[in-house]
Symmetry: C2
Subunit: 229 residues, 2 copies
């Protein structure tokens, strides 16, 4: 009797690890380092090693030759379901009960592990099958389909919204080098302040400095909206 664990067959702890791996995996698909998981979940490295072993046995994740973590289809399915729970709950708490964003996030972080499939569906229909949570993050559908998160260049990004750089796309190595040096590398969290008119520069806030970059440079920088998470 093989057992194919679904979301409710795995513990909250396992759900957290899977969700974490999913969310740390950037779109380039390189897999996640264990130390990242440890930091994100605020546990120690041995705890991660230990759990990863179990997750491999459960066929919920695999490891690259370099030891990085990649979810299996099944693991990703569970991660998506947990995220679906989270975002539905957040939306519900904010929209229906008027809870504040910060609190709704914390509450959802817990409840996401405990609501039944049926409650999930009831919340979903009560909200008329929302596509996005209050932060604008897409809500995975029940079948695991994720409404496409539009990764776009900085030029198309909205102002004053938290962004994360997901990719630098350019033929020109000096351009990439330049971006690296100015700390505009994948993973960096930035905010677009404004785009000056007449083909002017973009004001980009990174950390507590504001930097100005040309439109040509901005066209290489692909970003995602990343409020909240």
């Amino acid at each position: 009797m093989e057992k194919l664990p679904a979301t409710h067959d795995v513990s909250p702890a396992i759900q957290d690890y899977l969700k974490c791996c999913y969310q740390l995996a950037d779109p380039t698909g390189q897999g996640v380092a264990m130390v990242q998981v440890a930091e994100a979940l605020r546990v120690t490295a041995p705890s991660v090693t230990n759990m990863v072993k179990r997750l491999e046995d459960l066929r919920l994740l695999r490891r690259t030759p370099h030891g990085r973590l990649i979810l299996t289809v099944r693991g990703e399915g569970i991660a998506l379901e947990v995220i679906r729970h989270h975002r539905l709950l957040e939306t519900f708490l904010v929209d229906t009960l008027g809870m504040g964003w910060g609190e709704a996030h914390k509450e959802a972080e817990i409840l996401e592990h405990y609501i039944s499939e049926h409650l999930e569906q009831l919340i979903d229909s009560h909200l008329a099958n929302p596509r996005r949570d209050p932060h604008g993050e897409p809500i995975p559908r029940r079948d695991g389909l994720l409404p496409h998160r539009t990764s776009a260049t900085l030029l198309e990004a909205p102002c004053n919204t938290p962004l994360r750089i997901v990719q630098l796309r350019s033929q020109d190595p000096t351009m990439l080098r330049y971006l690296e040096e100015t700390r505009l590398h994948p993973g960096a969290r930035i905010t677009l302040r404004e785009i000056a008119p007449f083909n002017g520069a973009l004001a980009v806030r990174i950390g507590r400095e504001t930097r100005h970059i040309s439109r040509d440079v901005a066209a290489c920088i692909f970003v995602l909206q990343t409020t909240g998470k």
Copy 2:
């Protein structure tokens, strides 16, 4: 540093034990036997012994000289808060989301341990501070005050409502013996079907049989309404 545990400082398991003790304690205040708790929570006797020790250390319950369990004020406070969570959740799931009673009960049985104080309050106000859950059970208030549940004799009880026998009160031991023999003992769940006129008998359903008892006998049987729990 003494620690006075509140609901969210104790584990779900502890919450379950406290709630269970509270609900098994009949109004006569005799305390609960450990074997009852074991059955109700579907755990073994040693598990109960073990947990009871911990609860005593936490000053959440005491034991009578006969070894029966009695919640302390603090323990009862936690039990009441868990029950408040349960009944608010049930009400919310049924009234706001249209969930069925049975399912709402199961869902609440889990979520009662995980909602925050703040969410509890939001649900409470969303429902306009309801006094009773869908089963008619009173919802404890935040300060722990429980709208009084009226224990009365069978003669005063409503028909066709699930009841639980909480006490047999009589001077006559043969009467008590008689009741025991007919399985009308404290804890038994019964329903009153009808009271025949002209000082006639009461039709009482117990299990799947219907039994007829005189008014004199009925006057000894104290019952509570106990839909659901």
